[in-house]
Symmetry: C2
Subunit: 249 residues, 2 copies
């Protein structure tokens, strides 16, 4: 027999919580003393552990009460539904993460927040039909889409890109044939190859997609001006010969 305080210490839940569970009828004491103090037995300890487990797994107290009352028929249903709910939450959280990353890197590039971008991201996720898919489908095969979507840059790589794009933005006025423009284009190529390898066809498709949609929010922060700058520097590079890149079909 445990008093409410002993049970609290044994299981690590607060007295108030046990109080609350008693109040809503989720976990009631086996008996009480003459004075009205609550006493819990082993059965209640086991039930409490069940409750805590189900709570950890994300069930509401309401749901817990329901499924602990039922004679054990629909465990599979309950857990199946819960798994689906959790999967949906996970998907949503991954979208959040992606959005936050994009915005964060943009802040680092532009030194201030870009509300147009933020609003754009919102729209991207509020449209039911996945706009990203639609656009990518115009330029790439299924495998290529997989490849571009599965890229996840780590902090270090992203920092390199942020720095590069920052420098490009500072030098947009530079002539395509200038040394600085050529060096920036070299670094761009280096970064692209590092991310996607040297698959020329894939790179061309990706480049086309970026070129056509770079005013939108999808490929942020590769904006039109940045893409144009690199594009022209690349053309010069080709004319001078020797470089394999073949942007623009």
């Amino acid at each position: 027999m445990y008093t409410i305080g002993k049970l609290s210490k044994k299981t690590g839940v607060t007295v108030r919580t046990l109080d609350y569970y008693d109040e809503i009828g989720l976990l009631q004491p086996q008996s009480t003393t003459e004075g009205g103090h609550r006493l819990y037995g082993e059965v209640e300890v086991f039930r409490l552990e069940q409750i805590l487990s189900l709570k950890f797994l994300g069930f509401s107290l309401d749901k817990i009460q329901c499924i602990l009352q039922e004679p054990s028929n629909s465990w599979e249903d309950a857990f199946g539904e819960q798994l689906i709910m959790v999967q949906e939450q996970k998907k949503h959280i991954e979208e959040l993460e992606q959005s936050l990353r994009t915005i964060l890197y943009t802040i680092q590039i532009e030194k201030e927040i870009n509300w147009e971008l933020v609003f754009g991201i919102m729209q991207l996720f509020q449209k039911k039909n996945n706009k990203i898919d639609t656009i990518l489908n115009q330029y790439m095969s299924e495998e290529e889409k997989e490849k571009i979507l599965s890229v996840n840059m780590d902090e270090d790589k992203m920092e390199i890109w942020v720095e590069l794009i920052n420098e490009i933005k500072e030098n947009l006025h530079a002539a395509p044939e200038s040394e600085i423009a050529q060096k920036l284009a070299d670094r761009w190529i280096e970064g692209v190859v590092d991310m996607f390898g040297e698959d020329k066809e894939f790179l061309d498709h990706a480049w086309n997609a970026i070129n056509e949609e770079s005013d939108g929010v999808m490929f942020y922060p590769m904006t039109k001006d940045v893409v144009n700058f690199i594009n022209e520097a690349m053309l010069i590079k080709e004319k001078r010969g020797g470089i394999k890149s073949e942007t623009r079909s």
Copy 2:
């Protein structure tokens, strides 16, 4: 100038929500009519869109109020912190998903819920030091650990395992050299190769880990009896010669 109803229709948020935002001072009308009806201007529309975006990104109304008041100094900090929070949530949700999956499959195998397993999973996650890591370290290299942790079975594959383990449990009495035992062992091998390939060293390490820890909850539902059954069937297979598997060192 929008009345509260027009603004509601324009932006899709309910009147009550705008009411609430006014109440807590998050979004207040530009002016009011003589009768006390609220009027919102374009500035307020923009601010509302900011609010909705930040809310979508997971900020609390409190935080939103703070960061919209500040003169724009610490956007980077705010989004950085938010990203970290979201990443923690994601990690937690992935643990949930894994737990739910394990329990769900176990329900399907045992036709009822196994509370010892559930409690075991709780303990596994409540211990601060990751017990999984400790155990795997005893048997496997870093790369091998990566390999075994990165396995994610889809519904179909899991169903095959569930079925196989169910059949094994039904036939635990069968002699290791019986035809049925041998066939089950064959299917086991087939499944393992499908998941991890034929890397013999890796399979041996994994088999050792499972053998030593199969009374715990880690490799559920590969319990001791199931593992022993397969183990003995394998030994027979070896004696009869020809099969490459070399379980037990």
